[in-house]
């Protein structure tokens, strides 16, 4: 599996899209730091970008890489390698190379601006960890969608709809349900609603850590009330991890059954 991971990783690192992705974060980091002299404020702005864009990139790269490497997969299937190693190795290759671009791309400008001397170092690290989680989650889900759909166009379609739902539609539906069911106690419902969406969960996680109640919103406040800051962070991380494990498990199951 390590060999497959290695080949996928370097294959992607050589590709044009990785450079574009990397350059984008590099630029974003420098521009934000140039505009906000306050590193903490830059972290908050960055969070809003990362939370939407990282899942989108994970989604696009996940399906794209699956369909682009079908030939490679077929070649490997005839070799003495475990099936699960092939698919999990490829998935980890995409996810780590994206995470690598994210961390290095954002890391360089923040290093230049002296993140290590600032108090924002923990917040910034948390942002990178969350970005890593989101990459692994959305790449896994879109890889699974690719694996489940022979038809490329359908696969891309489903993957993008999934991202759109999690990043945009979900919050809308949530707000509507809060208004419609105003008369009922909604604390538990909101709590579960935020656990069920990795994007919401990541936002809450970062805001909990930053401890800015003004930005925390309704669910964030409930989260804090329910778990307290410390436990809130731990539980949010745990659920994010679950959001990685479950799709990886699904990839494994699908890969074992599929005919090539």
């Amino acid at each position: 599996m390590i060999k497959i991971l290695k080949y996928s990783f370097f294959d992607l690192m050589r590709s044009r899209w990785s450079y574009v992705y990397f350059a984008f974060y590099l630029l974003l980091g420098f521009v934000l730091l140039f505009l906000n002299t306050d590193v903490s404020k830059a972290v908050i702005t960055l969070m809003n970008v990362v939370i939407i864009l990282v899942p989108l990139m994970g989604t696009l790269f996940g399906v794209m890489y699956y369909y682009n490497s079908k030939e490679f997969i077929e070649l490997l299937l005839a070799q003495p390698i475990k099936r699960t190693s092939i698919f999990i190795g490829q998935y980890l290759g995409v996810a780590t190379s994206l995470t690598f671009s994210l961390i290095v791309g954002l890391g360089i400008p923040f290093l230049v601006y002296g993140i290590f001397k600032s108090d924002a170092i923990l917040d910034f690290s948390l942002l990178l960890v969350t970005g890593g989680f989101l990459t692994f989650i959305f790449t896994a889900i879109s890889f699974y969608i690719g694996l489940s759909n022979e038809n490329k166009i359908k696969g891309f379609g489903y993957a993008i709809v999934f991202w759109l739902f999690m990043a945009v539609i979900y919050d809308g539906l949530f707000l509507i349900s809060l208004i419609v069911f105003e008369a009922y106690p909604l604390d538990t419902f909101s709590l579960f609603a935020s656990l069920a969406n990795p994007i919401d969960l990541s936002r809450i996680l970062i805001l909990l850590k930053l401890d800015i109640s003004a930005l925390m919103g309704y669910t964030g406040a409930i989260f804090q009330k329910f778990f307290g800051t410390q436990w809130g962070v731990v539980i949010a991380m745990g659920v994010l991890l679950l959001w990685v494990i479950v799709p990886v498990f699904l990839i494994r199951r699908k890969a074992l059954k599929k005919d090539f």
């Binding site: 060999k3 080949y7 030939e71 070649l75 299937l77 005839a78 070799q79 003495p80 074992l256 090539f260």
Partner: protein, 236 residues
């Protein structure tokens, strides 16, 4: 050495294999024949575990292959369609598969010479012609020197000279005592390299026997006519 017991396989509503039973002794050269879409590729892929049969089992040296993977160390496979990652160079591909297999072989240079592939080693696979891709496919299939060879339409896209080269290679491998499974639509080629004929029709084995038996059964002296006769009688 290879035993296939009651293999069934459907893709959605199409029932491709409907109970295949087969014994392939070590050292035999078996031709898998049958019309397009009769399931030759599906049967070969089942042996490699690329297709998972709905029913039945496959044994290799008396052990079921059941979702294992180590057994593939003993099989060299030539896929029907030479699909390669387009952005890799030929030399990179060969190196990569060697590395992934953990094999220390330098046999590839021998086959690169035979098929005159030197000028293409630094070309990207995506830019090669179909015939050249097929030669790369053949190098990959032969270079690991495994005891079982499964070749799915090895002749497709080859020029007459390469076809002769291929025939000599296969005859050489047969002499080494390897077990061969070959599908092809070129009857003249089949007659020269195989000794057992397996004819698949509507998902079952319609004929299984030696070329001599086939000629005797169909009362035809010519192999091509014998096969044509077999096809016709299957249709009736």
């Amino acid at each position: 050495m290879i035993t296939i017991e009651n293999i069934h396989k459907s893709f959605g509503k199409i029932r491709v294999l409907k109970g295949i039973d087969l014994d392939i002794p070590k050292g035999s050269a078996v031709a898998i024949l049958g019309p397009n879409g009769s399931g030759k590729t599906t049967l070969m892929k089942s042996l490699l575990g690329m297709v998972v049969p709905d029913q039945g089992r496959i044994l290799l040296n008396n052990t079921t292959i059941d979702r294992g993977w180590k057994y593939r160390n003993g099989i060299d496979y030539l896929p029907q369609i030479a699909n390669f990652p387009n952005n890799l160079k030929v030399s990179e591909l060969l190196k990569m598969i060697k590395d992934i297999r953990g094999a220390k072989t330098d046999k590839e240079t021998y086959y690169i010479d035979l098929f005159s592939l030197h000028p293409f080693l630094n070309k990207k696979l995506g830019t090669l012609s179909g015939g050249t891709k097929q030669k790369v496919n053949l190098v990959l299939a032969f270079m690991f020197d495994s005891p079982i060879l499964i070749l799915d339409e090895p002749t497709s896209g080859l020029d007459p000279i390469s076809l002769l080269v291929l025939k000599d290679i296969i005859l050489g491998e047969k002499k080494k005592g390897k077990t061969l499974l070959i599908s092809s639509h070129i009857m003249n080629f089949v007659e020269k390299v195989c000794d057992t004929i397996l004819f698949i029709w509507e998902g079952t084995i319609y004929f299984n026997g030696s070329i001599t038996d086939l000629k005797k059964n169909t009362k035809k002296d010519d192999f091509e006519h014998a096969i044509a006769h077999l096809l016709k009688s299957a249709h009736d």
